[in-house]
């Protein structure tokens, strides 16, 4: 059966492409459970000989060879910074998106365009000016300083995504709600917000992941356990002459896990969000 062979062929090709795409991720997860020696062996050992949890023990400060890296502090910093900046970005972005979707005001189109264009500037290009201003303000190496930057990074995308969702909610609904006795505000919370929920959830996920994974700017703006985030902390594993690959991979897994959990929790919304909210007419 030619069509059967074709199907099988497609499956094999798909599998290999998938393997290539997933390889780095798999390698990180595998390496997190191997010893540094095994990771560095040449030629490479693909199938791990003996798996171990030592790397994780070392990170969390028990076991034989303790790594002197305050992972718990970094984790807390990451959490505080990501959650706060996401919440702020959602609040600002959602109200902005709603305004762009519902109201007409002078300069609306250029404003929206500029908001989107701001995304084209690579964040790192702004790092020097931000660094200078932040240090003058004395908010270098504070969570507040990082939160401010991350919020600014996330707002344009949140505005863009939620604007699309609010625009898909017919304006008639909010008018019907007002006639049914709602104030403008009630109409928003009871009708438009629930209907744009999946868009807002996806915007939230994107904002959170951006903040959670951001490295370039955070590495400039943070110094100590006061504000260093997990991705920045990852670099603590590189000493002058050695790199603790195993420890680094174990920590990378720790970084990935919360993001994965969150994504799974809201994936229903995420898919709805990407397939129907992102498309704009």
């Amino acid at each position: 059966m030619p069509s059967r062979t074709k199907t099988v062929l497609i499956w094999i090709v798909t599998f290999f492409i998938m393997l290539i795409i997933c390889m780095p991720g798999l390698w990180i997860i595998l390496s997190a459970f191997r010893t540094n020696g095994e990771i560095l062996t040449k030629p490479a050992i693909w199938i791990p000989q003996n798996l171990t949890l030592d790397n994780f023990r070392a990170i969390f400060g028990f076991g034989e060879n303790v790594v002197g890296i305050p992972v718990a502090s970094y984790f807390r910093n990451s959490l505080v910074i990501s959650i706060t900046s996401t919440a702020l970005a959602l609040l600002i972005g959602m109200t902005g998106g709603y305004a762009f979707a519902r109201y007409s005001f002078p300069g609306k189109k250029p404003a929206f365009l500029w908001l989107m264009l701001s995304r084209t500037v690579p964040g790192i290009a702004l790092s020097l000016p931000i660094f200078i201003i932040w240090s003058r303000l004395g908010i270098i190496d504070t969570k507040f300083g990082v939160i401010l930057v991350f919020t600014a990074i996330n707002v344009p995308f949140t505005v863009w995504l939620t604007e699309g969702f609010f625009r898909q909610v017919p304006n008639d609904l909010n008018e019907a709600a007002q006639i049914d006795g709602c104030t403008r505000w009630q109409a928003f919370w009871k009708i438009e917000f629930p209907l744009a929920k999946s868009g807002i959830a996806s915007a939230g996920i994107f904002a959170f992941l951006t903040s959670w994974n951001e490295y370039a700017l955070a590495s400039q703006l943070t110094r100590s356990t006061d504000s260093k985030t997990l991705p920045v902390g990852l670099m603590d594993f590189t000493a002058q002459f050695t790199i603790d690959w195993a420890g680094m991979c174990a920590m990378a897994v720790i970084i990935i896990i919360p993001a994965l959990i969150l994504t799974f929790l809201v994936q229903k919304h995420l898919i709805a969000g990407l397939t129907f909210g992102g498309v704009k007419g």
Binding site: A177, I179, G181
Partner: protein, 363 residues
């Protein structure tokens, strides 16, 4: 008493004026239909009454209260939207009860009111469904149900039937009329369909380009249109309108044929005046196929181009006075194209309009 009064109401969008100072008095429990071609300002007027659109000038009163500045929720009105605007994330019963919930009524009260509305509109079976699981006609009914649960002072409808197919539209039209008989309320209804306007309205308000052209009962606007616009807009088929000139108490048309000046207009026109002669298909009928009518009749021979049989009558297409016209044949017999029929024109029901302004010359 829920009267609605519009006093010199103006609506501007920026520099563009779309409603030019309209005046309208709507009585308690009256069913008023705003009708007119697309873009004439019907929806805008309705939305100003609802409070969804600010008025640029003038006053709107509901009862004795000036409501210019009141938000929609304080006007005690309900509105049925063209695309129904049901809340998609709520069930039918939640949709119906939403306004009462917002007003923090008790659970029992809401349930009773929802049940009431469901009974009136036959929605009992649908209460637990969401709007996505309803047909167009059912959605329409839910939208009306949502409007009636609060017992508003005024109902506003914006082309509620235009998304339904022809058969359902006729059916829902009857239901709306029944609804008005059941829940006596002032209704303002917008449509561009003159049949809907004629069948539903106590009074019709005909609008054009942001002006009110004529206000009257369906019969008044049908029988005494104030200008050629109303004459052409109301009634189906539209009134035949033919350009002509007055000469010795007759109207002479471009093809040389003529008819006497209708009795209502004699003495009101002088020789040489250019006019538009108007008559409906119903008043021009082949001899032997008329409804028994007496009065001033004028005999005409018509060459029939085409006959459209409708069963109990036929519409005859012909040309007269240089225009394509339509006549009506009761108890029809087959008519061939090119056949010449001797017809009579019921002169008392004919109209004369000024050729320039289009205004009726009835005076």
């Amino acid at each position: 008493m829920a009267t609605v009064t519009l006093k010199d109401v103006v609506k501007r969008y920026g520099a563009v004026e779309v409603v030019h100072g309209i005046n309208l008095d709507i009585a308690h429990n009256e069913f008023v239909v705003l009708v007119g071609p697309s873009g004439c300002g019907k929806s805008t007027t309705l939305r100003m009454i609802a409070g969804l659109e600010e008025i640029s000038d003038g006053d709107i009163l509901i009862g004795d209260q000036v409501v210019n500045q009141l938000p929609p929720r304080k006007r005690n009105i309900s509105m049925v939207f063209q695309n129904y605007a049901l809340y998609p994330h709520m069930t039918v019963s939640e949709n119906l009860g939403f306004s009462l919930k917002i007003a923090s009524r008790s659970k029992e009260e809401i349930e009773a009111a929802v049940q009431d509305a469901a009974d009136i509109l036959g929605l009992d079976e649908l209460l637990e469904r969401t709007p996505a699981e309803l047909s167009g006609g059912q959605r329409q009914r839910v939208a009306m149900g949502r409007a009636i649960v609060r017992h508003p002072d005024v109902f506003l409808f914006d082309e509620p039937l235009s998304n339904l197919d022809a058969k359902l539209r006729t059916q829902m039209r009857v239901e709306i009329k029944k609804l008005h008989a059941k829940v006596k309320t002032t209704i303002v209804y917008v449509t561009h369909d003159q049949v809907e306007a004629m069948t539903l309205a106590d009074r019709i308000v005909i609008m054009k380009d942001g002006h009110i052209v004529q206000i009257g009962t369906p019969l008044e606007v049908f029988e005494r249109p104030v200008d050629t616009f109303v004459a052409g807009f109301i009634g189906s088929p539209p009134m035949n309108l033919i350009d002509g000139t007055i000469k010795n108490d007759t109207v002479v048309f471009s093809d040389g044929r003529s008819v006497p000046v209708p009795p209502d207009f004699s003495g009101k026109v002088v020789d040489g005046r250019r006019v538009v002669f108007g008559f409906r298909a119903d008043v021009l009928m082949p001899k032997g196929h008329t409804l028994a009518e007496s009065g001033v009749l004028h005999d005409l021979d018509l060459t029939i181009d085409l006959a459209e049989p409708l069963g109990s009558e036929s519409i005859l297409l012909s040309s007269f006075g240089g225009k394509d016209i339509q006549a009506r044949m009761h108890n029809p017999r087959p008519v061939k194209g090119g056949e010449v029929l001797s017809c009579e024109l019921h002169l008392e029901k004919c109209h004369l309009f000024d050729a320039e302004t289009g205004q009726s010359l009835r005076g």
